[in-house]
Symmetry: C2
Subunit: 253 residues, 2 copies
DNA sequence: CGCAACCTTGACACTTGTCAACACAAGTGG
DNA sequence: CCACTTGTGTTGACAAGTGTCAAGGTTGCG
């Protein structure tokens, strides 16, 4: 789609897609490592949450950071007129609240999409613990850096991919997140409505619906009989190929 | 349809303008504070760069982080097929390299757009210094958090704003970045081509050019006679109003 | 049963990308 | 000096992708 060419790149090829394959394995381990270390060093407050629970709201002063032990959260940025924008999803091992550190108050709202367990630590206590435990500090930095990278990848997807590729990328991201945590990834149950997915991807709910229908017709995904939010991915490779084809097709002329 | 109005979030969104009055001062101070502390504690290597210099390339192993004392950098993410995506801009006081911490190697390429001075510190040394100096650790965390917030704001702008509002938001972001560092912000000299701006905003260069021409016709901006990359903003408020009107759904051309 | 969410599908409009042509400035080499 | 090239920016005509609007279907629930 963008005909701007970039030769000079020969040296290094990030190969983003591929890299995430490796990334997933390491990630699950790191999550466990982080959780264990936190448990040992900081005695986090543990708390069970249910779908719809609000962990924090935008504007609240930052006193705690949260670590997701299980479950699923969505992060929502609110504008004055009440419109919402989904700005992120969080799985096991992810932190919640990093974005609050800069300004001292939460920049978004965290809502549970499912039953799960949240570990909460005081930010001050975490800072002190980091001073004492270099390993912990390194892990926290890694987690923040990881969030930066992930946001950047999202940005690239939104900037460069057409609607159907975005939806596919979303499914792949979700599946990869499951796989990284050792769960089966060919059978994913989206906890989001079409409107929320569209919101997250910068699309309308109708477009999301159409793309999913198209993918289903092409047998690249299959809906569960009961719920059209439960999606089966028979062949990841075929999905990949689908996106590649779109990119190549538009790119070459 | 797009009814973003001013309050909370800072960053790319038009909302930031109001807040940036306070925020800019704080930001400039923080930058100075950070630079002083780093200079005192870590003896950074200082180095002058010129337009086009490459500070690091994607894939290089992370050993150093960099702090921008003056000048301007662009961050470029390269995909396997050679396409480039501008994923960020960096000004005085900003860090370069945070995204490399997670994976241990740089995730993008940093290219100087102008003459400037870069301070470089070894990442290991920074970690150790953070253990000894809680204040430094807090500042580093703040900086990373700030990067997360900024990326998120960019994301929202790209997801929710139409083309002309994106360009306006980009100009406002640039002006705010200058103002935050104590420079005059009504006279900004973009160091980017139309293609680069479009790339950053998820638009084509033609669209960027058209929007800028339209803004100039409406007297909301003015080009310098010599270079059409030097842009004058006579009235920030009028620019804001332009975006608001677009969002309210009033057609105008 | 009615009601409220949620999802799907179609018709149409509009924003934006694509393609093409041209203008301009800065080099470069004859 | 001119011709030529290269990079950049502007503008127009057209097409494609996506949003908008509207209608109807399904599920779950009081």
């Amino acid at each position: 789609m963008y005909t701007q060419t970039a030769h000079t790149s020969a040296g290094h090829s990030p190969a983003r897609r591929q890299a995430s394959g490796d990334l997933t394995r390491g990630c699950g381990q790191r999550a466990t490592e982080l959780l264990q270390l936190i448990a040992a060093v900081l005695e986090p407050k543990r708390r069970v949450v249910h779908a719809g629970d609000v962990l924090y709201r935008a504007g609240e002063p930052l006193t705690n950071l949260h670590l997701l032990n299980s479950g699923l959260f969505k992060l929502i940025s609110l504008s004055a007129d009440g419109r919402e924008q989904v700005v992120g999803l969080r799985f096991r091992g992810d932190w919640l609240g990093f974005s609050a550190i800069a300004e001292g108050h939460y920049a978004c709202e965290a809502i549970a999409m499912d039953t799960g367990e949240v570990w909460t630590v005081r930010y001050e206590a975490l800072l002190q613990a980091c001073s004492r435990h270099p390993k912990l500090m390194a892990l926290v930095h890694e987690a923040m850096s990881h969030e930066i990278v992930r946001d950047r990848d999202t940005l690239i997807a939104l900037c460069t991919l057409p609607a159907d590729a975005r939806v596919v990328a979303f499914l792949q991201y979700w599946a990869a997140s499951l796989a990284a945590r050792g769960l089966r990834s060919d059978q994913i149950s989206l906890r989001l409505t079409r409107a929320e997915i569209g919101n997250y991807l910068g699309l309308t709910l109708e477009t999301v619906s159409r793309v999913l229908s198209k993918l289903a017709r092409a047998r690249l995904i299959a809906f569960n009989e009961k719920s059209r939010r439960d999606i089966c991915i028979p062949d990841f490779h075929a999905l990949d190929a689908f996106v590649q084809r779109r990119e190549a097709g538009v790119g070459l002329h």
